[in-house]
């Protein structure tokens, strides 16, 4: 079929190009612009080349040291919440009722934390965990355990991790629940006939069938926890000291607290690249899992 070719049609794409330019490319380019310059105020800028990046990526400098410290804390935070939320979410998903009136009730209860806005979650826990007026903090302290998230780094970490687990385990639980519901009954019946134990059923049927939803769940939780800002900011503000200063909090301190636009811009770009790289990694792993499946099918 002959299609008429008229290059004027490109004008129809212009609105989209403009919108994307103004909401993504232009702001990003200002960041790139700042990252290669230095300023001493008065809106005067000096060319700095890749100086900020060199400093940022060198752990021996002040800027580099601080960047790698918060990067490390961020990685630790993500690792801890993934290690808790994924197994816990799967466990909750396994325990949720499969039929009866309990289904709707459980689903609503599980979805509730997901519907609470971030800063509200932060405020709830900020008050809940206070040792003087917060129910949790007060009880824990009266049990004889020294707990104060404004003074003890360990207490602060426990608070923000617990808060994230409270907020987001539901997501993994709901994903697993949906995944589990899609397994046909025949699998369980066959496993019964084959004499499989409950644990064997989990390992040989449920876990393999959950693999894809769990990959998505891990991806979402990793991204979110790596970019998290509001909740820990409201609760600890990065403290005590710098003990809960993760990348996003550090970036805001640098850019809006100290107004070091050049180094903050460089940090934003590196932060952005790390997340892009992680995305790409997950994407590759996920598509490779599928490719592996397709390859065996073709062979068959």
């Amino acid at each position: 079929m002959d299609k008429p070719i008229d290059n004027r049609a490109w004008f129809l794409a212009l609105p989209v190009v403009l919108i994307v330019a103004f909401n993504a490319i232009v702001p990003l380019m200002t960041v790139v612009n700042y990252s290669v310059q230095d300023t001493f105020g008065n809106n005067e800028f000096f060319w700095n080349g890749i100086g900020w990046f060199q400093e940022l990526l060198d752990p021996t400098t002040d800027l580099g040291g601080r960047f790698f410290d918060s990067l490390g804390r961020n990685a630790l935070f993500s690792a801890i919440i993934l290690a808790i939320e994924v197994p816990l979410g799967v466990l909750v998903g396994l325990c949720m009722p499969k039929k009866g009136p309990g289904v709707a009730f459980t689903l609503v209860v599980m979805a509730l934390p997901l519907l609470v806005p971030w800063n509200v979650v932060g405020t709830i826990w900020q008050i809940f965990a206070r040792e003087d007026i917060g129910l949790l903090g007060w009880i824990v302290n009266h049990l004889g355990i020294d707990y104060n998230y404004t003074l003890g780094p360990l207490s602060a970490w426990i608070t923000i991790v617990t808060m994230d687990v409270w907020h987001w385990t539901s997501l993994i639980a709901l994903l697993s629940y949906a995944g589990l519901r899609s397994i046909p009954d025949a699998y369980y019946q066959a496993a019964k006939i084959d004499g499989a134990s409950r644990f064997a059923v989990f390992m040989t049927i449920e876990l393999p069938k959950l693999r894809r939803v769990l990959l998505i769940g891990v991806l979402l939780r990793f991204m979110d926890s790596f970019m998290i800002y509001t909740e820990p900011f409201v609760v600890t503000g990065g403290g005590p000291g710098n003990s809960t200063t993760i990348l996003s909090i550090d970036l805001v301190k640098l850019a809006l607290g100290q107004f070091d636009l050049g180094s903050a811009a460089a940090m934003s770009i590196v932060y952005n690249l790390i997340i892009l790289a992680a995305c790409w990694l997950f994407y590759t792993v996920m598509t490779n899992v599928d490719a592996d499946r397709d390859a065996t099918r073709v062979e068959a």
Binding site: A186, Q189, K192, I193, G195, T204, P208, A295, T296, A300
Partner: protein
């Protein structure tokens, strides 16, 4: 190895069944001999799968008992029964190889590794899976997966019966014949009792020695394929088995004379319909009717003739009731009236759907 007996077995999915229509499975008694091949044949929703799931212990019956070799196993859990089941959709363990799949039931029962190995290889040989033992089960075709499910049943030395729940539904037509043949061979080699659920009469008739026809939660006939064809115990059997199915005509019967409207047919025996029967019918298969064979035949209206390639089916009308007649390829009918005669040996009388003996 097991002989399976069902005694007064019935099942209802409702908690308090009060009338016959509440039962998915109406009370039945049946014996499946050790080493036999049985087919449960019936339309969707007739209770075949329920019966199968009861025998495999996945569903507990509302009443009645199941005996394996004389031992009451009604209350035993599935994993304690020496029963294996192959499901409609292939169930395999995705992450395992073919070998591990076959070994799985034995591993769960703590069989020593050397015995597992020997048994798996033996079964793989029987099923023609030897070359694929090392492959991941995930990527295999549906027919291979179904063979693996079957293999997981065969591999257990203690297995007394293998139940098949429409196992060829998702298999390509050209593979179906192959698998059926292989199934028959495996049955001969293994001496395991096989119970095969299907709604496909060809499948039932080719695989089983005995076919159990079910209709609306009830067993209406148990018999060899030939018995089902020649003496259907219920009009449903006559209609369900054979293509086209048996002709059923409303009639009145007195002694050895049957009246269809104004016409009369003399039966080859005297028949007494049970008292109180509401509906008397005559059943005759299209194969046993001849058109224009005898001068004293009953006149019928010929509506049309269909040619199937191997034979012709004449659609005729007798007193407004449609009948099918099978004619040889070379037969010709002139005009739209023909004279119909029947092979009286194959003419059956039914009262309320059930065959009247006599």
């Amino acid at each position: 190895m097991a002989k399976i007996e069902l005694k007064n077995l019935a099942h209802s999915y409702k908690p308090n069944p009060s009338q016959p229509s509440d039962y998915a499975l109406k009370p039945m008694n049946m014996t499946w001999e050790q080493g036999g091949a049985y087919a449960l044949l019936g339309p969707s929703g007739c209770g075949k799968t329920t019966l199968l799931n009861i025998v495999s212990g996945l569903v507990k019956p509302s009443q009645g008992q199941i005996f394996f070799d004389g031992q009451d196993v009604t209350a035993l859990p599935t994993e304690k029964l020496n029963i294996a089941q192959v499901f409609q959709f292939p169930v395999i363990y995705d992450t395992m190889t073919v070998y591990q799949n076959l070994a799985f039931p034995l591993k769960n029962r703590h069989v020593p590794a050397s015995a597992i190995d020997a048994r798996v290889k033996e079964v793989a040989k029987m099923l023609d899976l030897e070359r694929d033992l090392g492959r991941k089960a995930r990527g295999l075709t549906a027919d291979m997966k179904q063979k693996i499910s079957l293999g997981r049943g065969l591999v257990r030395a203690d297995v007394g019966a293998i139940l098949f729940d429409e196992p060829l539904t998702v298999i390509d037509p050209h593979m179906k014949w192959q698998l059926r043949a292989q199934l028959k061979r495996v049955h001969e080699q293994s001496n395991v009792t096989m119970v095969y659920v299907t709604h496909d009469q060809t499948e039932a008739l080719t695989i089983a020695d005995k076919v159990i026809v079910m209709y609306d939660g009830e067993v209406v006939q148990i018999g060899t394929p030939q018995e089902l064809f020649e003496r259907p115990a219920h009009t449903f059997v006559g209609y369900f088995i054979g293509s086209p199915g048996m002709n059923v005509i409303a009639a009145e019967v007195a002694g050895d004379v049957a009246r269809i409207g104004q016409h009369q047919i003399t039966l080859n025996r005297a028949v007494t319909a049970p008292a109180g029967a509401k509906k008397i019918e005559l059943g005759i298969r299209p194969e046993f009717i001849t058109l224009n064979g005898a001068a004293d035949g009953i006149p019928v209206k010929v509506k049309r003739v269909e040619d199937t390639g191997r034979f012709q089916i004449a659609r005729v009308e007798l007193e407004g009731m449609p009948l099918a007649v099978i004619m040889p390829e070379d037969a010709r009918i002139d005009g739209d009236v023909a004279r119909l005669s029947v092979d009286k040996k194959h003419l059956h009388v039914y009262a309320d759907g059930h065959l009247v003996e006599g």
